[in-house]
Symmetry: D2
Subunit: 264 residues, 4 copies
């Protein structure tokens, strides 16, 4: 695997990553379990919610990331307006000394779907303010393009609602997004299992972001390893060029000139 992926790094926001799996920390039952999962995932960047305080895990999440050498990516989870998101991003910049931010502006608690009008506004303001902006968005190719136009470093379309585990509900839209994008596309939200992550990569995404699928799995570290393999597998398959689909069968070898026994 090392060999096949060594020349295939992810370039994002002017930096280079070996791992194409970005993780979140929410939902982990304990710091120990989170640590094991992060290590198993091979991730190099992990989001941290600036507006949340989970007494069980958040307290030392940043310490843990520092220990593991994983870059923290502050997000604006829990923000409902562009104004809130911009403020949260600025607080994060001061606190974490990073100008990277994953901007989320959600519309309601039931679906946690992005409010794309507020999102585009927030993204534009943050780019103007010097941030490296990764934008969590819906799967609308038009919104994705707009986010790119206002200067986002990456677009992060959802597969399905956050935490739903429904996978990629509309692969067609994700393909339309990756076809047109000139910045990295990170499939974010909705991943339930390994094949979802592989599919995301096969559709041309440059990376996958997930949290609950790992942290809430029955065995988080095992699922983290699963996601790592699946992201690698999907990426390799994308690069390898899959066979076309056929309505009928095709024998894997010519059947003309059948001989009873091969010549060996």
């Amino acid at each position: 695997m090392t060999h096949a992926t060594a020349d295939d790094k992810l370039q994002l926001g002017g930096e280079v990553f070996s791992s194409r799996l970005i993780t979140g920390t929410g939902g982990a039952p304990s710091l120990d379990i989170l640590e094991a999962a992060l290590v198993a995932s091979g991730t190099e960047m992990t989001t941290v919610a600036m507006r949340r305080l989970n007494p069980r895990t958040t307290g030392s999440v940043l310490d843990l990331l520092r220990k593991l050498g994983i870059r923290p990516l502050p997000n604006t989870a829990g923000c409902y307006t562009a104004g809130e998101a911009v403020l949260t991003a600025r607080l994060a910049r001061e606190a974490l000394e990073t100008d990277w931010v994953k901007v989320e502006v959600v519309a309601d608690e039931r679906t946690l779907l992005p409010d794309t009008v507020e999102l585009v506004d927030a993204a534009e303001r943050l780019v103007d303010d010097g941030f490296v902006v990764l934008a969590y968005t819906n799967d609308d190719p038009v919104v994705a393009r707009r986010l790119e136009q206002v200067g986002c470093a990456a677009v992060m379309p959802l597969g399905s609602p956050i935490g739903s585990g429904l996978g990629i509900r509309n692969p067609h839209n994700i393909r339309l997004i990756t076809e047109q994008a000139t910045v990295p596309v990170v499939l974010d939200a909705g991943i339930g299992t390994a094949s979802d992550a592989a599919l995301a990569m096969e559709l041309g995404c440059d990376a996958v972001m997930l949290a609950s699928a790992v942290t809430r799995a029955q065995e988080p570290a095992l699922m983290a390893a699963a996601m790592r393999s699946a992201v690698d597998g999907g990426r390799l398959a994308y690069r390898a060029g899959r066979i076309p689909m056929r309505h009928y069968a095709e024998a894997s070898s010519p059947t003309d000139g059948l001989a009873e026994i091969p010549a060996f």
Copy 2:
């Protein structure tokens, strides 16, 4: 990965395998490319068609397998009756000095779908004759159970027609098969890309068998590596216990007690 999979070997026909990927050789453009793909796949067992002679590749396929330390698994591809399949298996046993056989009895050239009546007959006769029988079958749980009852060492349901690349057309049936099986289930035929292989494992299959998806890919060795990762990922996800699907979102962290900045 090594760590996570070390205690999770495939037991099949009284033998133990570290790899859960079984490959075929048909469709490879050259022996060199086949060799690179086999190595990248990490496979430990590869089928060989006893009734075919592909002048480009078959001649030295067995030499190649010997060199790579990969176990050859003769198949009965191209047989349309139980009688032909039994005869072919016996010729293979003499020629390859193995009593393992993948039994295929197909119904027609257009679909290459198994003729399950002939198949069950052939399997039963081969078991009686001392063979270790792996049976390529349709995705009917009733036929799978019957094959198990006549003594097959593994059942190999198709995902879709051979070479079609259509993936797993009926995951529900594959699940019904794996739920009931007491011998290994190997998803065989129809795999098109990495996420298909991951899904097979998530459905509870014990291994995946494929040929065209790798040998006919634009870059066979890369796709072989993809399949290896995807099979690992799918297996790990199966063991890890995925999150349930939800209709609505679920925040990855509690949002009660939101604080502006995490305590760090």
Copy 3:
């Protein structure tokens, strides 16, 4: 609708039907509700289970069918061997004075999936015995062809397990069956809602058979009307020749020569 369908009758077993919807009676909460549903469905043929006695409804089901002028089609539900099915069919022939039979031979109670080996055997014997045989089978094109070869008047592949409401799990197989069939294909089992029935017809089936989807719906008569419309709609769509699928959009009108206002 009458106009469009008047010249498109179903020919099956030497008879002609205006309705392409065959219904069952099982699961109806009362005879009155069953009657309303049968009328709303427009069906001309309804199965009757010979081996069942549902004290609430079966007693007078045959009276009801007689009153409504609906042809009873005895089935062999509950039979697990060819022998049982043949015996049941013969009892039905005497009791109902019809040589039509829907032959079912199931493998187990959990899935109610057909045992195709027993099924083919039963079908062959019943054809030899002068029956007009409609065979409930899995969705394997090879078995469908075999049933046709032994003389069945119709093949009835399942969409998914009986009563599951899972719809058509493998449209690809149903298409393979309808492409090759020279006798009517009736999609049987698994229909959950109207769009499932429409899809069956679009795949080239000649009719749809269902019971639970109507009798267990919250409002059986309304669902019966739904199924009638959906079967009509699906059949018409099949005949009308649908548009191809495209990856991108296509404007519904030329946009060259745009004018501000149409000439009217």
Copy 4:
């Protein structure tokens, strides 16, 4: 059918419709064929593109609608900004003497996907200007709610890109939209065949809008009849309350107390 649907009219913009199928005219090969299709569809409202001039059909489209007693619904197809859409709507109001408008603001010619930022802006301005606004939008529940909030009389989410025939790519989103909507939801764009239209209604849509699926079918009038039946069927199924999906089978009758022959 009349019976079952008589009490189930569509209320939209303060008016009542018996038909839940809204059609377009684009793509029809001739006025005669268009007429036959419109009649077969049973539609009561048909869109007219104000910015297009198709020499073959548009000239007399309005005459045809007048003759058939079908309400014309001007749309703003071909507009790329809110300003263009508002202008086009006003021209249409003068020309057609209707204050109803289907507002479309598309982002590009390749996908014809709506630009939702411009769309919301246009919708708001048109509502303020006294229009009854039906808004063609993407399948984002948040945008749908926003359109409702600015006063749209109906939201018209797409199933897939215009003219693509890809059906409903994301049923989950359509369901989220219909669950929350307090104005009618009209599935617009992407319908390919009858089962797509039935599914739209089963998901809780109040009506279906389509053009190419009928006008470009091999037999437009037959497909129009198909769509009419499918919309009816889907609506009835929605009202009837479908059976739940089950993983395993459920016999349609109790099998306890099996008797050899029913009591008749």
